[in-house]
Symmetry: C2
Amino acid sequence: MNIYPELLETLIENFKKFPGIGERTAERYALALIKMDSEDLKDFSVAIDKIKKDLKTCDTCGHLTDQNTCSICADDNRNHNLICVVEDYKNIFMFEKTGKFAGVYHVLGGLISPIDGINPDDLNIHKLISRCKELNDAEVIIALRPTIEGDTTTLYLKKILDRENIKITRLSYGIPMGAELDYLDILTLERALYDRKEVE
Amino acid sequence: MNIYPELLETLIENFKKFPGIGERTAERYALALIKMDSEDLKDFSVAIDKIKKDLKTCDTCGHLTDQNTCSICADDNRNHNLICVVEDYKNIFMFEKTGKFAGVYHVLGGLISPIDGINPDDLNIHKLISRCKELNDAEVIIALRPTIEGDTTTLYLKKILDRENIKITRLSYGIPMGAELDYLDILTLERALYDRKEVE
């Protein structure tokens, strides 16, 4: 016999599918739902049901959108000659929160990783090249993870974009703002030393 | 302009209503939903929508159930002469997890707290008395929080149940299992000393 009514069990099982949610937290959330407003529950339920129907990827950049073209690609006030290449659309939300990037994006949908069987053809790279070819004076900013896979992908993109004479840059590596030098990993410190900049 | 598509915003707002979920976690959960299986999303959505319709309180004990009588009250293998009185149905789930209680429950739905305007009449007490009156040789175990409100409620119940000649006990107070004595609060230690038991 289950401790919880069946409906609660269903909810608990569903909450356990979220990242970092275990049994106890799932129970807590399921029980919290019971106390919520009926209207809110209706909205929540409908929104969850609509996810797969409403959300798709932007035809141009691969970002998450409820339109054919995402709000960023559709924005004429942005610099469409400046393309920031990211691994996942989640990264775009992070950049947008800074409010400091006025260009557009391109989502690769992964990183080159021969070990995991992920080759350049599995990524959204052809589309990036064709986007770049349509532009004059484009700059591609690579914003990938500083890992072997990220570096491999960056080098691959550089090789291809160089052929097309497109300017290619990457995010700077270094000490994160506010970090304690004492607790920094050696690789980051090494990189920060190597990439040191003149004080202006 | 919103950073997220509207549907995602709705989901994020809903997740923020859960206990202990802030902006960042809500975003993480909303984005995690996108990666989930369509079937699972459907089940989840339906379950959320059904909460208010399907879940109600047991006619007998006030526990959460999808029937008129909860599975505990309906279970003939349990001892219906042993009633454990709890503040909230959530407590029942905790007791059931121990698997060590073979009696039944009674949910008060709160604690007496004159400061908050909660009087005995606001709680599910009349029903408890009438349940007890129908039994021979009943024992009521009070399992309320060891706070002023919990103690007030316990004393009130004792006064009333004594009139009906019903045996009334409460959970033992003392040192939690595995606790470090060094870090224990003084009140608990005092209580554990006062309630000391002979070693058998």
